[in-house]
């Protein structure tokens, strides 16, 4: 719209406190009054026609006088105080660009269209019951000029179809038409992607009144327009997306969700050793120049959640290939690869997912180098097998967007670094969806470089704790235990049942044990605690130095050494058992005499 063509107008407002007491009587306005820029304090949405001219709130200026006054007051920018009690406002409120056009269109139409036009401005019948400012704005935009379309597709047609001047009849669009317009723009945007399949016509709802809107493209059809048609159009559009014809499309071209899709989650952990940019890396890294260097320190783990699909036909060809490769590997004799003891803060693998999540998918475009891709399936961890599937990128063509991970391996020449678990003698291509039949569609995959696997396995073996003590023969254990003191032997006895059994079975004695070995006194009790020796006994002696006082009628007795009241209180002195009434090295006769003296 040419801004110069706009008729200037002025916004008037009664003096503060809403009075035109100083206004002169005005003749009735020849044209319809312009809508008030300032809302009536008493309420909103009042008609421009404010009643008799002598009303206090009647703006004094009319449309006929506007041209004359406009020379002195620019549009919406008058700042001069009006005379005769009128106050000319500078601005009423902040006007957004969209609103400006709308308001301008309104005013221009009002100026040119006459009174009948004013009423049509407030017609809400075509807008429905839930008209909103957005719809009104959209409608006005249609009237004046189509806004620049970001896609660039719908702008021109809309502009062509728009009325040349605001004064033309407005092609009032229904809600369905609005939706159809949006859909058209989306379709035009989608059309920019190459589609091998012939472009399917998109059904749009026709205009409610008049002829078909020119701005909606040639694909528009005429006919009745209501919300039901919009729903039909949407349903038809979705049906086309899910049609088999779309399965041949690449992933990024496949518009809708399909069963068997894979959910991808990425985990990035730092601290990984820099990789050598050789063939040991996943082949697809070569298609991303510069990325290995950037990710030298990061380890990207891609977790792929393979969702169950009851029909393998619904699986994309790439996923079927992966499953087929996994089946081949499982049928062979692949060495079970240990899970990486990843430090990543990476959390433990998520639990097995439920199979009933068919139809759920997330389209993820893998655009970076992925170090690991882990599939988590529905099977429990005990049923999960770990295979290594080497996926390489065909050097002939770059991987398309969104297909980086789902690319198939190379051809008969095989990948450069075949993983140890697989025998990629003949890698099926993307067009080989058939694979070994398998009831379970979930597998656990792990794709890492061969060198990394080998090094990791060695490190795990080195770091893996092994119970060497438990691997020793029993007589060797007895030999070792026989070199230990009582406390160490007691600690060993409390370590595990195996050690306890060996000590008790073989009667291991500590090096500092004071149990008399003399057959004559072997069964004598300990001098302190009166405990008798048992085979394999490595217990410590606890006794009370001072005797326990018996309960007396006049009070409770207790151990004098530790003041404990219970008679069975453990001894407060700790030591080794000693049943050597006499030193074992002395003669037997002297020993017997000593025992008699001690008694």
């Amino acid at each position: 719209m040419d801004r110069g063509s706009l008729l200037p107008f002025q916004l008037w407002c009664p003096r503060p406190f809403g009075t035109y007491s100083q206004n002169q009587p005005r003749p009735p306005p020849a044209a319809a009054l312009k809508p008030p820029a300032c809302s009536d304090p008493g309420g909103g949405g009042t008609e421009p026609d404010r009643g008799p001219a002598h009303s206090e709130n009647t703006p004094p200026a009319s449309a006929a006088d506007a041209p004359a006054a406009s020379q002195h007051a620019p549009v919406l920018s008058t700042a001069a105080a009006g005379d005769e009690g009128r106050v000319l406002l500078d601005t009423w409120y902040v006007i957004k660009p969209g609103n400006t056009k709308e308001k301008v269109a309104f005013f221009v139409a009002h100026q040119c269209g006459g009174g009948g036009r004013a009423s049509s401005m407030k017609v809400k019948g075509h807008w429905g019951s839930d008209s909103s400012k957005a719809k009104r704005r959209r409608r006005c935009l249609e009237l004046t000029k189509a806004p620049p379309d970001p896609g660039g597709g719908g702008g021109a047609p809309a502009a062509d179809g728009a009325p040349a001047t605001p004064g033309d009849d407005v092609d009032l669009l229904s809600v369905a038409e609005m939706v159809a317009l949006v859909e058209q723009r989306a379709a035009l945007a989608l059309q920019s992607y190459p589609r091998p399949a012939p472009p399917s016509p998109v059904v749009f709802v026709s205009a409610e009144q008049g002829g078909p809107a020119k701005g909606l493209g040639s694909e528009r059809r005429s006919g009745g327009g209501d919300c039901s048609r919009v729903a039909e159009a949407v349903a038809h559009f979705e049906a086309q997306r899910d049609s088999p014809a779309t399965k041949g499309l690449r992933k990024e071209e496949r518009p809708g969700a399909g069963p068997g899709e894979v959910r991808i989650a990425f985990r990035i952990s730092n601290g990984r050793e820099p990789r050598s940019p050789d063939g040991n890396l996943p082949a697809w890294s070569g298609s991303r120049p510069g990325s290995p260097g950037a990710r030298a320190k990061d380890k990207i783990t891609c977790d792929l959640y393979q969702l169950i699909s009851p029909s393998r036909d619904a699986l994309p060809s790439t996923m079927e290939f992966l499953l087929a490769r996994a089946d081949e590997a499982s049928e062979g004799d692949p060495p079970a690869l240990a899970r990486p003891e990843d430090a990543p803060p990476a959390p433990p693998p998520p639990p097995a997912r439920d199979c009933g999540a068919s139809g759920f998918h997330v389209d993820v475009v893998v655009t970076g180098v992925v170090d690991e891709c882990v599939f988590f399936g529905k099977d429990g961890t005990k049923n999960v097998k770990e295979e290594t599937v080497c996926l390489t990128v065909s050097p002939e063509e770059p991987p398309p967007p969104g297909q980086l991970f789902f690319l198939q391996a190379r051809g008969p020449e095989g990948p450069p670094e075949p993983p140890p678990a697989d025998t990629p003698s003949a890698v099926p291509g993307a067009d080989d969806p058939e694979g070994a039949t398998d009831t379970s569609l979930c597998r656990l995959y792990r794709h890492v470089s061969h060198d990394f696997l080998e090094i990791r396995f060695k490190i795990q073996r080195l770091l893996e704790p092994r119970q060497y003590m438990l691997l020793l023969p029993e007589h060797v254990l007895v030999k070792i235990f026989s070199f230990l003191p009582t406390r160490a032997l007691a600690a060993l006895k409390c370590t595990c049942h195996h050690f306890k059994g060996v000590i008790e079975a073989f009667g291991v004695r500590a090096t500092d044990s004071r149990w008399n070995r003399d057959p004559l006194y072997r069964d004598d009790p300990c001098k302190q605690c009166r405990k008798r020796y048992e085979k394999g006994d490595v217990s410590l002696c606890r006794w009370h130095p001072k005797p326990y006082h018996h309960d007396l009628p006049y009070g409770r007795s207790y151990w004098m050494c530790c003041r404990r009241a219970d008679r069975d209180t453990p001894g407060c002195r700790l030591g080794l058992h000693d049943n050597n009434w006499v030193p074992p090295c002395n003669g037997g006769g002297r020993g017997r005499a000593g025992r008699e003296e001690g008694r």
Binding site: K479, I480, A488, T495, C496
Partner: protein
């Protein structure tokens, strides 16, 4: 000096002096059973429970202790000590747990008493030094129940 060929569990052939090999009661018995003459048979003696790497270590120890007197018989009354390990043996046994326990198994299989004694003493010394961390040092998991542990405490074992 005549030598014999020993084949480890990994298939490698290791040649060692006969006199050194005879420190092993097992090899000595094999040699006597095979009735090997001076020319000897070129067939190696298979040692399925010992790999060549450990065999080399054993040979090294036997070479150093070739002039040692035979160890006395084990006396129960004699107090056993672990501080009588020689410096050379201490340095020789400054190896990892895996190698140490493999030497014990090799000494047990080859029946080399001196080597078995010194290796067992070394392990005993390790246990004495880390009595409180036996679980951690030797990666032994406790399989006692809480009731059993309470009973042991009650019996003053712990």
């Amino acid at each position: 000096m005549p030598s014999i060929r020993l084949q480890g569990s990994d298939g490698e052939i290791f040649e060692v002096d006969v006199e050194l090999a005879k420190q092993s009661v097992t090899i000595k018995a094999m040699l006597e059973d095979l009735v090997m003459d001076d020319e000897g048979d070129d067939d190696p003696i298979p040692l399925t429970n010992v790999n060549v790497a450990i065999l080399k270590k054993v040979t090294q120890w036997c070479t150093h202790h070739k002039d040692d007197p035979p160890p006395p018989e084990d006396d129960e009354n004699k107090e056993k000590q672990t501080d009588d390990i020689t410096v050379w043996d201490q340095e020789f046994l400054k190896v990892g747990q895996r190698t140490l326990f493999e030497l014990i198994l090799a000494a047990n299989y080859l029946d080399i008493e001196g080597l078995l004694n010194v290796t067992c003493k070394t392990v005993a010394s390790m246990i004495k030094e880390k009595t409180e961390e036996i679980h951690k040092t030797f990666t032994v998991e406790s399989d006692f129940t809480e009731e059993e542990e309470a009973q042991m405490r009650k019996e003053k074992l712990v």
